[in-house]
């Protein structure tokens, strides 16, 4: 399973979104790595890519709002990391369409997404939770 309890931040609203995000990415990886032919996988791949484009933006926005609410000092830097990932997802999506659904491109995307997501939640987002706990504002979810 992709989600592990150690990734929990202790902020219920963000934890719920992270679990949803991990669940969708896990479903995406299972399809990506399944033994089916690429043509059979494509509808699910495209569906997940569309979801990612929307949900990642929505989740990042909500997380940024939470950071503003608790006056997180690294808000700007964290926002830039989010912007970088959104740009990457959009660029890959564009390249995927232009390449007529190239499988190698999507396998490369899947690998990077896996490491990026785990690091972002386990390391970078954890800093938000640590700050919130230190400041006594960890219950200030939306």
């Amino acid at each position: 399973m992709l989600w592990k309890d150690i990734y929990e931040l202790g902020v219920p609203a963000i934890d719920a979104q992270h679990k949803e995000l991990f669940s969708r990415v896990e479903a995406f990886l299972q399809v990506l790595r399944s033994k089916e032919s690429w043509e059979e996988k494509l509808p699910k791949i495209n569906e997940t890519l569309e979801f990612m484009k929307g949900y990642v933006v929505e989740h990042f926005h909500d997380e940024e709002e939470y950071q503003k609410k608790i006056n997180y000092p690294k808000y700007e830097a964290h926002k830039q990391v989010h912007i970088g990932m959104v740009d990457y997802v959009l660029e890959v999506s564009k390249q995927f369409e232009e390449s007529d659904n190239n499988e190698n491109l999507m396998q490369q995307f899947g690998g990077k997404l896996l490491s990026w997501l785990i690091n972002h939640v386990a390391a970078e987002d954890q800093q938000i939770a640590d700050y919130a706990k230190k400041e006594g504002v960890s219950g200030n979810g939306r």
Binding site: L32, N104, Q108, F109, G111, L114, S115, N119, Q126
Partner: protein, 148 residues
Amino acid sequence: MVDKLYKAFVDATYNVFNLMFNISDISDHPIDEFACDNELDISVGIVGELQGEVIYRFPVVTSLNMVNIMSGMEFEDVDIFVTSAISEIANIISGNVITALSDNVFRYDILPPVLGKPSDAKEYEIEENCCICTSLGEICLDVRLNRA
């Protein structure tokens, strides 16, 4: 400063394994004791007032263990997916070093990770290396830098 930079790469590797894989039992030893002929070499270029590269040498066994733990799936071969996941980890470690040392006198940045070991022909003023041992396997770091 150079010692500090090398130590920062070792520390960042420790931290990434600790946070991403929940592994705290990590140690390092000299690279001479590293024996591996089947590995994934990822090179991350450094540009700016320091120039060179950091080569991350991930044995295939270590690479597969890492991706298996992260994904909860069973990967048996190093393919494009595994290479991309491991390259991103090299990128994360290098990025963390840049962030940790952002207040230093030297200004430098990192380039996207590239698969393959660079040539040994070029000489570097600074060459440091070590092997980091974890329960997922070993990883070797090879830091090669010149002052610009």
